[in-house]
């Protein structure tokens, strides 16, 4: 059994940090030491921010986004186009689209995709809320911004069926050559999809 090199409080901090994505026990130790050495500049403010976030973070009851208010800032923003709902798998995807400033619409976070292997079925996803929102009078388009994976597209087709009677147009993201992509290095499937979805120049 390895000997503890620090008190239980520090060991617990290291253990918790090691659970974060991208950090293992060794890097967690480095991060913990870094925080401890900068107690006033970093450790105390970080602890305060974590405490505040834990107290105030909510899941938006309308779209499933994470914010400190319910409904979230995106749902209550009057400058957003309320006629378009952009459906994403996860909050990380919503953040990615917002970072890219790609669309000025409202969002709907599914909370995953249909995956028989992981036991995720329709009841595990935030689908009922989406159908209800899509039926609202001012919604004209639902954009399915799910991943271009077999599971993501299976979910997209399923949602398309659910929205059949909602009176909205359903669109999806284009599949094809990424910006900066060199044809020589692309996989056959992406190339085939890009050729199939070619547009007039």
């Amino acid at each position: 059994m390895s000997r503890a090199i620090a008190g239980p409080e520090i060991e617990k901090l290291i253990q918790l940090l090691a659970r974060l994505p991208g950090l293992g026990p060794r890097s967690a130790r480095r991060a913990a030491l870094y925080l401890i050495k900068r107690k006033d500049q970093l450790l105390v403010p970080l602890a305060g921010a974590l405490q505040l976030a834990a107290e105030r973070i909510l899941v938006c009851s309308a779209c499933g986004n994470i914010d400190t208010a319910d409904p979230c800032a995106i749902c209550t923003d009057p400058r957003r186009d309320a006629s378009v709902i952009c459906v994403v798998e996860d909050v990380a995807d919503l953040w990615a689209l917002e970072r890219a400033n790609a669309i000025n619409a409202r969002y709907h976070v599914l909370g995953g995709v249909l995956s028989p292997l992981d036991g995720t079925g329709p009841d595990d996803l935030n689908l009922a809320g989406l159908i209800e929102r899509a039926r609202a009078e001012d919604v004209r388009e639902v954009l399915l911004a799910v991943n271009a994976t077999v599971e993501g597209q299976t979910t997209a087709h399923y949602i398309t069926d659910l929205l059949a009677g909602a009176g909205v147009s359903v669109s999806r993201l284009a599949h094809g050559v990424p910006v900066g992509g060199e044809l020589d290095y692309l996989d056959d499937g992406t190339l085939a999809a890009a050729v199939k979805s070619r547009t007039p120049f």
Partner: protein, 246 residues
Amino acid sequence: MEWTDSGFILATRRHGETSLIVEAFTPAHGRHLGLVKGGRSARLRAVLQPGNRARLTWRARLSEHLGHFTVEAEGSRAADIMLDSMALAGLNTLTALVRLLPERDPHDQLYALFEQIAAALPDRPGWLGDLARFELRILAELGFGLDLESCAATGTSEDLVYVSPKSGRAVSAAAGAPYAGRLLALPAFLAREDALPESAAALLDAFALTGFFLDRDIYGPRAISAPQSRERLLRLLREAGGGAAP
């Protein structure tokens, strides 16, 4: 331990932050799992989609270990299939069926049929009929094969239009007429290799037949339900139904 084989990707599961546990279907090693390090990278994620064909090299210290796969793309079908609702439901049904097989048990005939269906997806005719045949073969490989060669009552091999839900044996039109309401329909194409389904109704009959025995002999005893993709496929087929077979 090391082998190299061509195979189809069936499914993937996350392992840690960057790796995937990949489930593949190969001719010589059947359904086989292995870890792909860096499988979640942008390059490999496109390759490791269900339905894609890849050259797989499996390495492990002992045969009972999970082992590692190194993967090289051989054919990308998934991107094409993803765009077609029915083809996608077909692919999901197909991969779910293979996952009923025990691991590391080769099934040459099933693999050949899998290859045929994967090549025909998304829009070459005949893949739906082959999918129904695939279900029949899965039943046979798991020890619950149907006997569609001759009539259970008279022994004739002519005019076989029913299957007994009790014995799983074919029944001729004449012998089955008094019990028609209790027998399952046997579409003619199902008994003939390479025959195309006569109509969407014949396809639905074929899936009703295989579905009955899959439920009774496979899904029921294992306490699992038929994959949702199969239900979706049948619904799409019903909606497209009536006319010529897709």
